[in-house]
């Protein structure tokens, strides 16, 4: 199954990559692959913006607007005038502002 692809915010700077492979290991959708000891974007459109790759890239070669692709979170963010906030914990005050760049 594929979602809306052309709006994905994932950016990867190959020049900063040291080939550690963490991005490929943590990605749940095989967005990255290792080619000749360098990471490369194999399937950018499959990115769900979970942010795992960016957080685990020691070189800072990856940028993504991480957040939860959840309509009710976006809706509650719209209604409260803030960032999308995932209310699945049942206690919204405990949610950090997910989706902040």
């Amino acid at each position: 199954m594929r979602y809306i692809e052309d709006v994905v915010s994932l950016e990867f700077d190959e020049k900063l990559c040291n080939g550690c492979g963490m991005c490929a290991a943590v990605c749940p959708h095989a967005v990255f692959e290792l080619v000749n000891r360098r990471a490369s974007l194999a399937d950018r459109g499959a990115c769900m913006e979970c942010g795992a790759c960016a957080r685990n890239c020691e070189q800072g070669a990856i940028r993504v607007r991480a957040g939860t692709g959840c309509a009710s979170a976006v809706l509650s963010g719209m209604l409260s005038g803030g960032e999308p906030s995932c209310g699945c914990s049942g206690d919204k005050s405990k949610c950090p502002p997910d989706g902040a760049p």
Binding site: M1, R2, Y3, I4, E5, V7, V8, S9, M22, A25, V26, C27, P28, H29, A30, A46, C47, M48, E49, C50, G51, A52, R55, N56, E58, R65, A66, G67, T68, G69, C70, A71, S72, A73, V74, L75, P84, C86, C88, S89, G90, D91, K94, C95, P96, D98, G99
Partner: protein, 363 residues
Amino acid sequence: MTTSTGDGAPTLERVDDPWVDGSLHTDAGDVPRVRTILSASDRLGSMKARWGIGRMDYRVTPGLYATGNPSAESPVLVSANYKMSFDRLRAVLHGRDAWILVLDTDGINVWCAAGKGTFGTDEIVRRVQSAALDRIVSHRTLIVPQLGAPGVSAHGVRRSCGFRVVYGPVRAADLPAFLDAGLKAQPEMRRVKFDLGDRVVLIPVEMVSGGRYALLVAAGLLLLGGLSSGGYSLAGVRTIGLTGAGLVLGAFLCSAVLGPVLLPWLPGRAFSVKGAVLGLVLIGALIAGGGLTDSRLHVAAWVFMVPTIASFIVMNFTGASTYTSLSGVVREMHFAVPAQIAGAVVGFGLWLTGLFVAGGLGL
């Protein structure tokens, strides 16, 4: 009931939990040993949580636990304190000696907690230190579930407490193979899927969370059904009102069940589009099958309202799915929410008009 102690030091009350079977003496204190065979009450608890019953308070006390008879060389597996996450992990460790380090994630599962940051670098470092893990194991490796990675920076953990993070497989079921292969994951173990079974288990909790709003709307239509140009009548409640309530609940239930089940086959990428198509098919089938004997105005009203309801319900399933991005959801809501509001206003307007126009035009 368990209590959170704030620190991860082994505490006496953890020993009283039914899933604990004695304790293990270590240089850094006693560590509770957990059972690796799930009991009937563990299974019942999971089932209840799937239906949203007690789901927000289904947790275990954070801290270090043991399975079997772990030594200083045994692997350390990190988990969340949502009891379903913890149960999945200990069940696959049957017959193995291991340590389980449970983080305090407010009773939220690994992936969601990682998205919120509660399953995160700082919490791992805190738990490693409060459990005095460096005195319990001789190695310096933590096996963290892959879906914890959105909240955890492996290099951050290494810098802060000296432990190396190795990301384990997505599914606990693959953990034995991962451990036996020397902490190597097959590519398949790193992929998140969204199979029929994965989708179906999510239906109950989605139904429970949306159900109260559907009941509210249905009750509203039931009462409004009594309105007419000739005043309020119970006959109207019993006919138009009851039909309206039934259609709202029917549209809700069909969308909440068929949306997730048929997800890959419904056309469109946007969930709101998939839902609208499902709604059109539902109302089309109802009309074609002669199941809707209302006035023409009311039939027209339902042609707008059923797809609108279905679009909204299936759009909300994005939060339960495993592959939707925030950018994509924002994009689809940009066109879907105005369209849904328009559909609801037009549909409800036609329905209200139908109550007052004599015979609802033509019937």
